[in-house]
Amino acid sequence: MTAWMEAALAAGWRPGEPDPALRESYLYDRTVIAEIQRAAREGIYDIRGFGAKRKLPHFDDLLFLGASMSRYPLEGYRERCDTTVTLGARFAKRPLELKIPVTIAGMSFGALSGPAKEALGRGASEVGTCTTTGDGGMTPEERGHSTQLVYQLLPSRYGMNPDDLRKADAIEVVVGQGAKPGGGGMLLGHKISDRVAKMRDLPKGIDQRSACRHPDWTGPDDLEIKIGELREITDWQKPIFVKVGAARPYYDVQLAVKAGADVVVVDGMQGGTAATQDVFIEHVGIPTLAAVRQAVDALQELDMHRTVQLVVSGGIRTGADVAKALALGADAVSIGVAAMIALGDNAPEHEQGYRKLGSAAGFYDDWQAGRDPAGISTQEPELAALFDPIAGGHRLANYLRVLTLECQTLARANGKSHVHNLDADDLVALTIEAAAMARVPLAGTDWIPGPGAF
């Protein structure tokens, strides 16, 4: 029961259809009104989890062409459609070999519960892909349950140490993330439990303040030297990823390549977070659809496409999203929010729990509060205990299999024996925005909006 509802009920309103004679404002609708009044009450910006909730041009605005008289499909099952991906062959002695082109994005222990991290490791390992640590360091459980683990180097450096660096299968230098390009990690006091506090060297129960820049380098020229150090410490064994939030992906990808990255990860503005300001989530960064195109252009111009791999994240939900990202030139995609949902976040069975928090299944985004009835985005032991990591791991593995099968289905329908052979020529767009952002023609035409195209 929200404060709004209580006050309205007391004043005589009853739930149901609003009176049609009432006209809601587009600019100041009930959601905006509630937010303005919340701000007036609390005096602080709204902090929440999840990703951008507003409608944006996305992969749904693209369609595959499929097979026809001129292009022939592959038979399912017998005629192979490969899904393997190698990440990091540019410099590393031991690149990552993945069985599917979908990885699990960085999410911290602290933002997520221990059992949730364990489930991610189990599920990813079951289908032969990797997980990624987050802003808090590597837990023994995650290293134990993930056959392939990417270790993040973030501005905060919480928990960073050379032993974990050497135990990792790859290292990801995080410059930013799609939900908040330019913002640092955030974890509120309620989730800074004893264990989290110890891992992060923070006092228990305080609100973690975040650095938004790395402490010991600024700029791609100094990043190059930093990457050199990481390679020296790990004897050049492990691939080095560089992750950016989608701001200027054309320049950022070129700079990451020049700084020596083996893999670049581009996280579109729809990318999720466990906690950050709503204004940051909704109003900064460019959509994933636009980011992929720019990133691939950058790699092709440097003649580095497929030599430096591109991983794309931010709103990947279905095998269609996976296939379209690959068709635009990505080598793999990464999932965060979708992985949490596969584990059980926002599932209808937790409806009662969400209602008690003033939310509802399908709407719950207060991941920063750490009271998740699903036991996923919480540090409270009783809640975390409700989450079964083995069952959760199976659910994730199932979901990853479906993403892969769906991607293969689309690839076969376009005559491809490897999902990497999907190509932008196999795509058409449904809207002008999507056509311009992805540089794909409007369906039924050969028109791509852009400079000089009008």
Binding site: G43, I44, S156, R157, M160, N161, P162, D163, L165, G189, D201, L202, P203, I206, D207, R209, A211, P215, D216, W217, D222, I225, K226, G228, E229, E232, I233, T234, D235, W236
Partner: protein, 234 residues
């Protein structure tokens, strides 16, 4: 130990990769020389980084960025100056710089001791997580920015914005502080702090300074949870 008993590597003729690999191969119970001398570093980056054995490494000359980065248990001494990020993320051991150190000295380090006999430039001890840092000279601006735990001892002066947004680290300064950062205040020196300083001075091997000459700085703890009145500090 005489000079002859040190394994000597000349970086003018030996690739850095070869040097670091030989040092890394000594991790754990591996057999090999414990004492090393590195000559002609000439500003090379990442010299003796990622050490994980009880080695003693002497470096004759100036090093570039990230010397002794992520050091564990080793003792590294630079007879010269160090570039940015010396001993960054050190876990244990001792890193000693005879000359000056550049920015980010001891950044995010978790343990061990970093001694600088000269001055450091900006952001000394940024985000420190348990290391002890002792500087005989001055430190630059924004030092101990977001410093979490550990101790920073400065015999000279400190630049602007000292200890901005810091958590529970302890800062001791003997000279002038140009300015304090957000939420950093001067605190009382009690017997346990004097003992702290005495211990640090002794570990660092500094002459001519006494604990009574130092003042203590730390977090006012007003930014630990958000309060509307502090909105201006954000």
């Amino acid at each position: 130990m005489s000079v002859a008993e040190r394994e000597t590597v000349d970086l003018a003729t030996t690739p850095l990769r070869e040097l670091n690999q030989r040092l890394h191969d000594l991790a754990g119970d591996a057999h090999g020389p414990r004492r090393w001398r590195i000559t002609n570093p000439n500003g090379t980056h990442a010299v003796a980084c990622g050490l994980d054995a009880e080695l003693e490494v002497e470096i004759d000359g100036h090093v570039g960025y990230y010397c002794a980065g992520m050091n564990k248990t080793a003792i590294v001494r630079v007879h010269g100056n160090a570039g940015p990020g010396v001993a960054e993320n050190m876990m244990s051991g001792r890193v000693e710089i005879d000359g000056d150190a550049s920015q980010y000295a001891g950044a995010t380090a978790h343990g061990g001791l970093l001694v600088v006999h000269g001055n450091t430039s900006s952001r000394c001890g940024i985000s420190m997580k348990g290391v002890d840092i002792c500087v005989r000279g001055d430190i630059g601006h924004l030092s101990a920015f977001m410093a979490q735990t550990g101790r920073l001892l400065v015999c000279g002066d400190a630049g602007e914005a000292l200890g901005d947004s810091m958590y529970e680290a302890r800062i001791y300064v003997r000279g002038e502080v140009a300015g304090l950062g957000a939420d950093c205040i001067e605190k009382e020196m009690r017997p346990k702090h004097l003992a702290d300083v005495a211990e640090l001075i002794e570990q660092a091997g500094f002459d001519g300074v006494r604990p009574e000459e130092f003042r203590r700085y730390g977090s006012a703890r007003q930014l630990y949870t958000f309060k509307i009145d502090n909105a201006g500090a954000y």
